[in-house]
Every structure is written in C-alpha cells, then in structure tokens.
C-alpha cells in the first residue's frame, strides 16, 4: 500500500500537525519508503496466531478504589503555558 498527497495531508490533520505543501511532498516519499519496508509482514502466515497483548504473562494488577493523591492544583498547572487561578487557558472553543 502507498499513500498519496491527499492521504498525507489527511493523516497530518488527524495527528494535529500542520504541514506545508513542501513538507507533505517530502513526507509522502518517506512514508512510502517505510510502508514499503513493512509490507513484507504480509508474507508471514499468522493463521491461528493470537496478537500479542502483553510481553509478560501476568494478571492485571488491582488496587483499592480510594483517593491516594490530590490537592496539588498548583503543581498541576505549574508548567502550563497559560493559566489563570489554577485553570488551563485555551482559545475559545464554544461560540
């Protein structure tokens, strides 16, 4: 399978990465190179093979459903590019 320019732009939008026309062109070549490389996986017979979900067979750990953390609002927003009274500020979302 290979990707065309329109697909590259659509994927870039899905990934929320702005791309220029020139970047999209370059990415198309690179992505097709990588997709060509991974194509060989198709030749492996995987009938009856389960997909791997965990490298180590182990039961999912459980913990008590209790609050163990919190009251750290200042810490949570400490690295925010823009914040106001412990809120993250973003451009207007709802008109």
């Amino acid at each position: 399978m290979s990707v065309d320019l329109a697909t590259v732009k659509r994927v870039a939008h899905l990934a929320r990465i702005a791309v220029s026309e020139e970047e999209a062109q370059r990415m198309m070549g690179e992505l097709n190179g990588i997709l060509g490389f991974v194509e060989q996986l198709g030749e492996v017979d995987v009938s009856g093979v389960e997909p791997m979900t965990s490298v180590m067979p182990m039961a999912m750990k459980e913990r008590d459903d209790v609050v163990t953390d919190g009251s750290k609002a200042d810490d949570v927003v400490a690295n925010a590019p823009v914040s106001d009274r412990n809120f993250f500020l973003v451009p207007k979302v709802v008109e």
Binding site: A18, E30, V38, E50, V55, M56, K61, P81, P91
Partner: protein
C-alpha cells in the same frame, strides 16, 4: 606545614589517580575507606564536564549545586555509617527521566521549559541509595533515533575517533549522551532507556556496557513514554560489575506501574565472576545478515571461542522470524508513539504556538515543537491505526510479535541458557552521514540485532568485545530468559575478562 597526615595522604591519592577514572565499585571502596570524599569525587566530575561538554555535548543541563548538596549529604551519611548502595556515586540521567524541578524535555522543543513536580521511580530509587545527580544527558528526541542526531539540543560527539582521524562520529542512540558521558569519564554511570536498541547500540558504539533488563523489571513511572509495550530503563556503565550495581538500584517492584513485575530484585553483582561451565549458548543463524562486515563475523566467532574456553557448550539455533522483527517494530512503536505523544497539545505543559482557534493552536504547536523524525513516526503511527488499516498493519504486526517471542521460547525450552549475537551491524558512523540521512529505513537497520529482544520483552546486554580495523569499539550482545539478568551478567563478564576494557584516546 602542620597538615594532619590523613589530609596529606588524601592529596596524594587525588593527584596520583584521576578520580573520574575509578569504576563505581572502586569509588565505593575508596569512599567507604574514607580515602576520598563524595564531595571530591563530585567536584572531579563537575570539572571534567566543564572541560569537555563544549566539545562532546553529552549533557543538556548540568546541576552543580544539586550535585554538591547531594555529595555533602552523602559524606554525612558515610560518616554516620549509614551509606547506601550507591552512596556518593555521581551519575548522569537521560533527559527522558522525570526529575523534580530539573530540566526534563526528552530533548524535544515541545517540552520547552518543562520541569516536573515529581520524580521518576527509577531516579528516586537511585537517590534513595545515595547516588548524586550531575545533570541531564542528551538523547534523540523522544528516544526516536539511532545516532543522537534528532535531539533538539544538537548531536553528541562520540569520544571515540578512528585511528589517525579527526572526523566526528555519532555515539549511537537514542541514549547517545549517556554512552558518550560514560565513555568520556563525565559520570561514573548513567541511566538510559531502550525501546529498540537505545541502550545496547550506543554502548556498543562507545566501548561501554549497557543492559536492557526484562520488560517490567524497572518501573516506567515518571519516564517520558515513547512506545509503552517496548520501553525499558537500564544502565550504561564502564564495566559489567558497575552495570550490575546500577541495575540493582534502578530495578524495583512499583505499584505506580501496572506492568512492573512482582518479583524480588536479586543481588546482580553476586553473579559477576561466577562460572559459566556447562551453560548452553545458542548461536542464531538468522543473525548472519547480508552485507555484514567480515570483522563483525570474526568478532562473533571470537566471542564463541571465549565462551567455549570458559566451559560453555555452543549450539546452533534458529529464530526464523528474526527478519520480521524490524518491520513489525516500525508499526508497533510508531502506533504507540502516536498515541502517547497526543498529550503534547500546548495546553498543560511545554511549548504553545497561538492559532486562530484551538485546532489551529494544536497543529501549529505540534508542527513547531516536534522534529522531523518524531513527526514521521507520529504520521506512520496515525496512518496504521486509522480506520481501515488497523487489521492489515497493527494487528498483523502484533501477531508477528507473538511468533518472534515464540522463536525465543522454543530455543529456551530446548535448553539454551543465553543467546550470543553481534550488538550492531557496524561500528560508529559519521555525524551527518548523507546516506543514512536520506533514507530513514537505512538508519533503522542499525537496530536489526537488538530490536527482536524488545519485541519479545527479553533482557539483553551489550558488552565491548574488541576494536575494528579503524580502532573503533565493537560489541557483542547476550540475550537471556525473562528475569535471568544474572545469567547475562556472569556471561558478559567472561567476555569482558577475555576481551579487556576499552577507553578512547582523549582529544576533547
């Protein structure tokens, strides 16, 4: 002068040996015997970094005040007889580990100015054992790379150069800063992480020892995520014993990481020096790849001979799905990365580039914040996970992964204790190599011998085994059964004893 004799002796030792040349085991002994102080040791490293970092670019941040405070506290604990396992040992920390109030950016522009309010479990374990932090080490952006050239902070120079050449070489990646700092004596040891070979390949390129432990051995809590089912932390050190000492402190069972495995951490150092007599070492025929330099094959044969001499039995084995590990990796890792890196949106931390609306802000922020290689992998990951392609790519790759793991299980079930392979298909290559820069797949082939180990979750160690015709270090890799890192330490030590240790000629 009425100087007390103890002080004069100390002066003598300081001038006699450069303190930065001591291994962790040697420094531990001298600190315990009060021949040197943690402050002296830390000062020696801080001066070495000061003198060398401009040339090598191994550190992206140095934390001298923190280091001095920690060293003073170590000296106090040593005086009180309360020394921890790594008391007073100065370490470098890969920029992927969250360190409270200290630069943590995974060497990416998108985490601009990020200083976490928490400490990763692995680094906290080190500080609990008395280690001293010297600073944060350079790496490929988000650990995506095999040459340390994708770092926002620029390439790291390998302290090794070819004989008679002043051409700059890469230290490998992604833990290039860690490997270069250890090889150039800019820290006693370093933390690193390995998703496809990022500990073992740079260790091989710099003549250092690096171990990726079994998936689940070191907690991933507080470590910036790349590909969560593959990422594992481990140490890079000057020798096998030091790697064992460091791993013992880094590893733990952590309730904060659900993939942390509930097994006690053994005393790895005890394995160093143990006999490998009667052990069965597997030699996988599929690791003899086309175009592999003659020297790598010769090194491999030499490794086989050393292990045989030490009493191990050598058996040929087959790992038939080896060639599919790299293509499967380049689906699984980007898929997980595209999901993990979705969090960098300009809202909660790091860089923000304003836009006309919120989507425009996201897109501009991520366009400006991520480098080329990271964007490339996010794009691949987004594509293979997108509607209509999931089964063909991701599901297929995860099934192939099951087969890769099964190959290893069959070999181990047949009685093999460890597997010996080359660590890399070549020695270190040049910075800004045009051939590699123009073809991402060619760069990816660097991980051909290491990536299978991540896909199967197994432990793997890279140990220096010789120099090539250019005088550059080459490494061998040992792969073990899950949670049998001790087998790797004792076998790697046999190779180390036979091969000797390698240090670069100082040019920086």
């Amino acid at each position: 002068m009425d100087e007390p004799p103890a002080l004069r002796d100390r002066e003598k030792i300081r001038t006699m040996t450069d303190l930065t040349r001591l291994t962790i085991a040697e420094a531990r002994e001298k600190l315990g015997a009060k021949e040197i102080t943690a402050v002296e040791l830390t000062e020696a490293y801080l001066s070495a970094i000061d003198a060398a970092n401009g040339a090598l670019n191994a550190y992206v941040t140095v934390t001298p005040e923190k280091a001095r405070d920690m060293a003073k506290a170590s000296d106090a604990r040593i005086a009180e007889g309360k020394a921890g396992a790594l008391e007073g040992i100065p370490l470098g920390i890969k920029d992927l580990f969250g360190t409270r109030d200290v630069h943590t950016q995974a060497c990416s522009h998108i985490l601009d100015g990020f200083k976490p309010k928490y400490e990763s479990t692995v680094t906290q374990n080190l500080w609990n054992d008395g280690a001293v932090m010297l600073g944060k080490l350079n790496m490929d952006e988000f650990a995506m790379g095999s040459s340390n050239e994708t770092s926002y902070y620029g390439a790291v120079k390998n302290p090794w150069r070819a004989n008679g050449s002043n051409f700059d070489l890469v230290p490998g990646g992604s833990s290039g800063g860690s490997a270069a700092a250890v090889a150039a004596f800019l820290c006693a040891g370093a933390t690193a992480t390995d998703t496809g070979g990022s500990i073992r390949q740079p260790a091989a390129f710099t003549g250092t020892v690096g171990i990726k432990p079994t998936y689940g051995r070191c907690s991933r809590w507080g470590v910036v995520a790349f590909a969560s089912s593959l990422d594992q932390a481990g140490p890079i050190a000057r020798d096998v014993r030091d790697a064992a000492i460091l791993l013992k402190s880094m590893a733990s069972v952590d309730a904060k990481d659900t993939t942390s495995v509930d097994l006690p951490v053994p005393d790895y150092e005890k394995a160093v020096g143990q006999s490998i007599k009667g052990m069965k070492i597997g030699i996988p025929r599929e690791y003899r790849v086309d175009g592999m330099p003659e020297e790598i094959e010769a090194l491999w044969q030499q490794g086989i001979a050393w292990l045989k001499e030490a009493g191990a039995e050598i058996v040929d084995i087959s790992l038939p799905h080896t060639k599919y590990a790299l293509p499967a990796y380049y689906i699984v890792a980007p898929a997980e990365a595209s999901s993990n890196l979705a969090r960098y949106d300009g809202v909660r931390y790091g860089l923000r580039v304003d836009g006309k609306d919120i989507v425009d802000m996201y897109e501009k922020t991520r366009a400006a914040g991520f480098g080329k290689e990271v964007k490339r992998r996010i794009m691949i990951g987004t594509y293979v996970l997108s509607a209509g392609y999931y089964d063909a790519y991701y599901l297929q790759a995860q099934k192939v992964r099951t087969l890769i793991k099964r190959d290893f299980e069959l070999a181990f079930d047949a009685g093999v204790d460890a597997i010996l392979t080359p660590a890399t298909p070549s020695s270190a290559f040049g910075i800004a190599d045009e051939d590699l820069a123009s073809d991402p797949v060619k760069m990816y082939l660097n991980d051909i011998f290491t990536v299978t180990v991540n896909m199967a979750g197994l432990p793997g160690i890279a140990v220096p085994a010789g120099l090539d015709h250019k005088g550059l270090p080459l490494g061998l890799q040992l792969i073990g059964k899950p949670f049998e890192e001790e087998t790797l330490f004792k076998t790697a030590h046999v190779i180390e004893k036979a091969a000797g240790r390698f240090s670069p000629q100082k040019w920086w």
